[in-house]
Amino acid sequence: MTHYGGLEFPTLCPYLYYEDTAKAMEFLERAFGFRERLVSKDDDGTLRHVEMERGGGVVMMGSPSDHKSPKRLGQVTVGIYIHVDDVDKLYEQAKEAGADLDGAPADQAYGVRSFGARDLEGHQWWFAQPLSGSSS
């Protein structure tokens, strides 16, 4: 972990680009259980930088000018993999929120129960719970 400016950061923080960061924030909270922790805005109200967290993980988010989402490009080039404590419950939450799901949670040979989903702009996510118990 790294600590500065009053906040704690995991060593690795994915920075996700969205065409509409405000909508993405709302979706990540409702579908995937993230919580807002930092927002900064310009004086015209434009979102400049966002950080959301889940279980000690942090994603940074923003909207570069002329950015095109994976959904618009028709191509996903990276995926975000997160360990969680209750993958079946989260699956139901994501389903209820209208996430684009790859399928129901399934036990994997490498020791997790997981499912994949894409967010509203097409970014790929995977959520995995160790079959041996807690993710922490």
Binding site: G5, G6, L7, E36, R37, L38, V39, K41, D42
Partner: protein, 147 residues
């Protein structure tokens, strides 16, 4: 790169919203960190405290007996368990909301008006006024509730 006009930081604390508000205001002297950059006059400051209610001051106290001190900010909204708004001496606004979330309280500190500050001061002012302030409060709450 210019500084943002608004910074909003959210933490979750393991008490009800009324308690969170009380700790934020009544116990600020316990969680506000002493340091050479955290007071106008760190050599003289012996405490920090809120005068409760709208119009009350956030005061850097120099003399506990006489109450002498220097105003750091003025309270413009005082809603115990729900919301606290301060306008500081640099004319920026700090808006703190307390919302029940199950067994926790979501505490959000929004620091506005940073665009009115010279660029060289905005970052340090935003850091102390927003991110650091709520981090100190959050750390104190974590220790307080685990004790």
């Amino acid at each position: 790169m210019s500084q943002p006009a608004l910074v909003r930081v959210t933490v979750y604390v393991a008490v009800d919203s009324v308690t969170a508000f009380e700790v934020f205001t009544e116990e600020i002297d316990a969680w506000y960190l002493r340091g050479p950059h955290h007071f106008f006059d760190p050599a003289r400051a012996v405490a920090i405290r809120f005068e409760p209610g709208v119009g009350g001051r956030l005061l850097e106290v120099y003399n506990e007996a006489t109450g002498e001190g220097r105003e750091m900010a003025r309270v413009t909204v005082w809603e115990p368990g729900a919301r606290l708004v301060l306008r500081d001496t640099r004319d920026t606004e700090i808006d703190v909301t307390f919302e029940a979330r199950g067994d926790e309280t979501k505490v959000t500190l929004e620091h506005r008006g940073l665009e009115r500050l010279p660029a060289a001061e905005a970052e340090s002012h935003a850091r102390l006024g927003g991110r650091v302030l709520i981090a100190w409060f959050s750390d104190y709450m974590r220790e307080r509730t685990s004790a």
